[in-house]
Every structure is written in structure tokens, then in C-alpha cells.
Subunit: 221 residues, 2 copies
DNA sequence: CTACAAAGTTAGGGTTACTTAACTTATTTG
DNA sequence: CAAATAAGTTAAGTAACCCTAACTTTGTAG
């Protein structure tokens, strides 16, 4: 049986490994889900028994093919709900994540397909993440760099925000930054790796931590 | 803490007593929720401790003011979801109940208010049940009789279907019966209390069990 | 009014998922 | 490379919710 907490663990493994790539530590999962390491160890044993993860004690965790398939299903639900809540019910960028988190575990494939259809089979969610299709395929994402790695003087557009926290979304909204907004990199400070950019004719600086989360694609070199 | 199973028990007490009126037996709750009597007894003890129900051993259950307030909140979520799923996502009459049942426990007041607004603050759900308002008030329902109690020769319109089972909804749809459809009572058979009616120029008979579930209001005597 | 059936409760036990505390393994650093 | 620290695991216990089986109460039919 795949219970709701199990779905959360599987999703956590997928999203953590999607960036860092490779094996996922139990510590990272515990932090993401805000549970004890003990709970994660115990769950790892169970998920491994169910064939959803590869797990060798002390050596980290990765998804099996079966686990990945499940993770993509869960992400499909989550991301379609996010888009739906913004486009149909008019929620804001910072509100959708928490709501989608609640709904995703209680949405049948039948219903999520209806939502998909109603939205016109979209490819990306409000954060720029690809929405897994019904068959599990991920739409191809454009070539991106982290804003923290971008080139001084070049122009970019925002393609993905790799974070869903309410606080960051509210901040980005408040400075007028949305998906597809143009960003020109003016300068970088090697002292703290912060970046200075121009957005809608205004200058803003981002800490490295934020700039790491902003995936951009080049418009003009 | 009000957990999801607790919400289900509270909702069951409300809906069972809404018709039968007065005290609710643990047996009826057990049947509705498909759990053992033991589980219901145990839960009754807990809900009573939380001040949500009046409970005296062997004497039946009723909601306290606090419990009723909670029940109305849950019904508000359920009924708004049902209407939303039909009106916005195009689900059918027989499909919405199960889906709403899943979603209702994971919908914040914030979100349900958005849905309410998006639907234009509707008063009745797809079955004709009143939708509790944000303040807990129930819209006033029209004067109704059960079709099983109706007068031969009179014309009525269907106002409420007091059942949500997929099978019945599918059947009613298949014979062209919807909310507000005109029904003329042609005859009653006292042998089995079945009724003969005319709907959209076709004659149909309903068993007493079905006729009991159909609330109608008089159009023409 | 007794006795029997139906309804309701209690006792004991199982599952899932979590906790803290104690322990083991792995990694880093002087 | 030894010792300290970080990461990971196991053990024992808790809470919610459910079950079956045994028992008690209630209501009713003879």
C-alpha cells in the first residue's frame, strides 16, 4: 500500500535528487519533510521493501523505475493543481504551493486528467517546472543557467523558480519579477557572490542563495 | 485535534439526524461509514470528550452547537466542491460525490471561499441540498414533499435528491430526470407503494425506496 | 415478566507513522 | 591515523484508528 506519507517521501527523494543528482541522504529528506532521522530510516526500509527505492544502509537513497513513475504521478497532480489554482481560481503565486500540497494526495487520475484538459494540456507550472504528462513524460525544458552563474552584461528571461516558499514568491512578486520577465545582469560581487540585475528598469540585488534558485535562459549575449 | 475520521463521524451524525431527526444510533453511523460498532463507540467517547457531541452510553448521539458548526463547515466544503466539479470541470451528476468526499477534508476555508466566490455564492448543490454559507447559515429550502407522499394527478418539480450514490444518479440521468424537471404523479400502487409518474412525456415507475429519496415541490394541484 | 434478539460497549490486539534516546557507521580534521 | 563530529540506524514507546471477540444493556414478543 502506498500511503500519503509514503507519497511524500517519494516526492521528496525525487525533488532533492532532481537538482543535486544521484543519491539522496536521509538527513536531507528528514529536513524537507520535517521529521526525525529515525522516521526517515524506518520509512526507507519500508519503501525499499516495496521496491520504490534503492536503499543500502548508510549509503543513501535513489528511486527505482517504479518509484520514479510514482513520483512523476504525484508531481503531475501537484503542478496541475498549482496552475489550476492560479488560472481558474485566481490565487497568487505565493499561495498555490501549500494548497496544491494538500490537494495532490486526494486527486484521482480521472480528476487530474479533467483538470489537465480544462487547462489545455499545459507543459509548465507557475514556477516554470515541467508538468509530467499522463504517460509520465516530462516536457523538455529550455536550456537554462542559474542566475548566479550568468554572464555580466547579458540579458536573460526568468524560466523557473526552484523554490516554492511563500516568502520568496511574495518577494519576487513585490519587485515585479514574474516568469518570462527580462533580467539583465549588471554586476556580481565576489565578496558574497551576490548579483546586481536590472528588472523593469529598476536595479535590484540578489543574494547568492536567491540567485541560485532563479533559472534563466539567454535572450541576448 | 479534529482529524479526518472525526470529521467523517461528525458529518455522518449531521446527515443522519437531518432526516430522522433527534438522536442518532451508533449502528446507523457504523453502517454509513462502513466501520464496526466498536469503532463508533470508541469514537463517540472521544468526540464527546471534545465537546462535539452529546453522548450518553446506550442512549444515542446528537451534535452539540460546536459539533453542528463543524458539520456545517464540512458540508459547505463538500457541496461547493460538488457544484464546482460539475459546473467548472464538467463532471457528471454521478461522479461528483466521490470526488468531493476526497477533497473536502483538505480544503482550507480560504480556498473554499474562493470557490464560493467563483461560483457566485450559490445556494444549492447539484443534488438540491442547501449550501451552508460562510457564517454557517443554511439557505431556506422550498416547501417540499417526498414523491412517495405526493398527490395523484398533481404536477411537481424535482427539488432535491436525498441520496448521492453513483448508481441512482446514473439511473436518474438515464431517464432524463434532473433537478427542476417536471414530474406528474399518475398513479400509486398500494401493493408495494410504488409510484407511476410522467417525465418528459414518458411514463416511468419508481419503487417506494426511490420515491422516498425524491423531494418535489408542487407546480399545479 | 422473562427470555431472547438486537444494539451497544469493553477488552485486547494490529497497523502506520511518528517521537526520543542510545547506539553504530562514516567522514573530516588536526 | 586517531579522535571528534556528523550522519544514520535501532529500540522502545506513543497516538490514532481500526478490527474481532466477549460481554452488557435495551427493547420486545410471547
Amino acid at each position: 500500500m502506498v500511503t500519503i506519507p509514503k507519497e511524500d517521501y517519494i516526492k521528496a527523494v525525487f525533488t532533492i535528487s532532481f537538482n543535486g543528482n544521484g543519491k539522496v541522504s536521509t538527513k536531507d529528506i528528514s529536513e524537507k519533510l520535517e521529521v526525525s532521522n529515525a522516521a526517515t530510516s524506518e520509512m526507507a526500509r519500508k519503501l525499499s521493501l516495496q521496491g520504490l527505492i534503492n536503499y543500502e544502509k548508510y549509503k543513501g537513497i535513489s528511486l527505482t523505475a517504479k518509484g520514479e513513475k510514482l513520483a512523476l504521478k504525484i508531481l503531475r497532480r501537484h503542478r496541475l493543481w498549482e496552475l489550476f489554482l492560479i488560472q481558474i481560481l485566481g490565487l497568487s503565486w505565493s499561495e498555490v504551493h501549500d494548497q496544491a500540497e494538500r490537494l495532490e494526495h486526494h486527486t484521482t487520475e480521472f480528476l487530474i486528467d479533467k483538470i489537465d484538459e480544462h487547462l489545455g494540456f499545459p507543459e509548465f507550472d507557475p514556477h516554470g517546472h515541467p508538468i509530467p504528462r499522463k504517460n509520465g513524460q516530462l516536457p523538455k525544458q529550455p536550456e537554462v543557467t542559474a542566475l548566479s552563474e550568468a554572464k555580466i552584461g547579458s540579458s536573460y528571461k526568468l524560466v523557473c523558480v526552484k523554490d516554492e516558499s511563500k516568502e520568496l514568491m511574495d518577494y519576487l512578486t513585490s519587485i515585479g519579477l514574474q516568469l518570462h520577465t527580462e533580467i539583465r545582469l549588471i554586476n556580481k560581487l565576489s565578496f558574497d557572490d551576490s548579483v546586481f540585475v536590472q528588472i523593469n528598469k529598476k536595479q535590484i540585488s540578489f543574494s547568492k542563495k536567491i540567485a541560485d534558485k532563479l533559472s534563466v535562459s539567454v535572450i541576448k549575449n
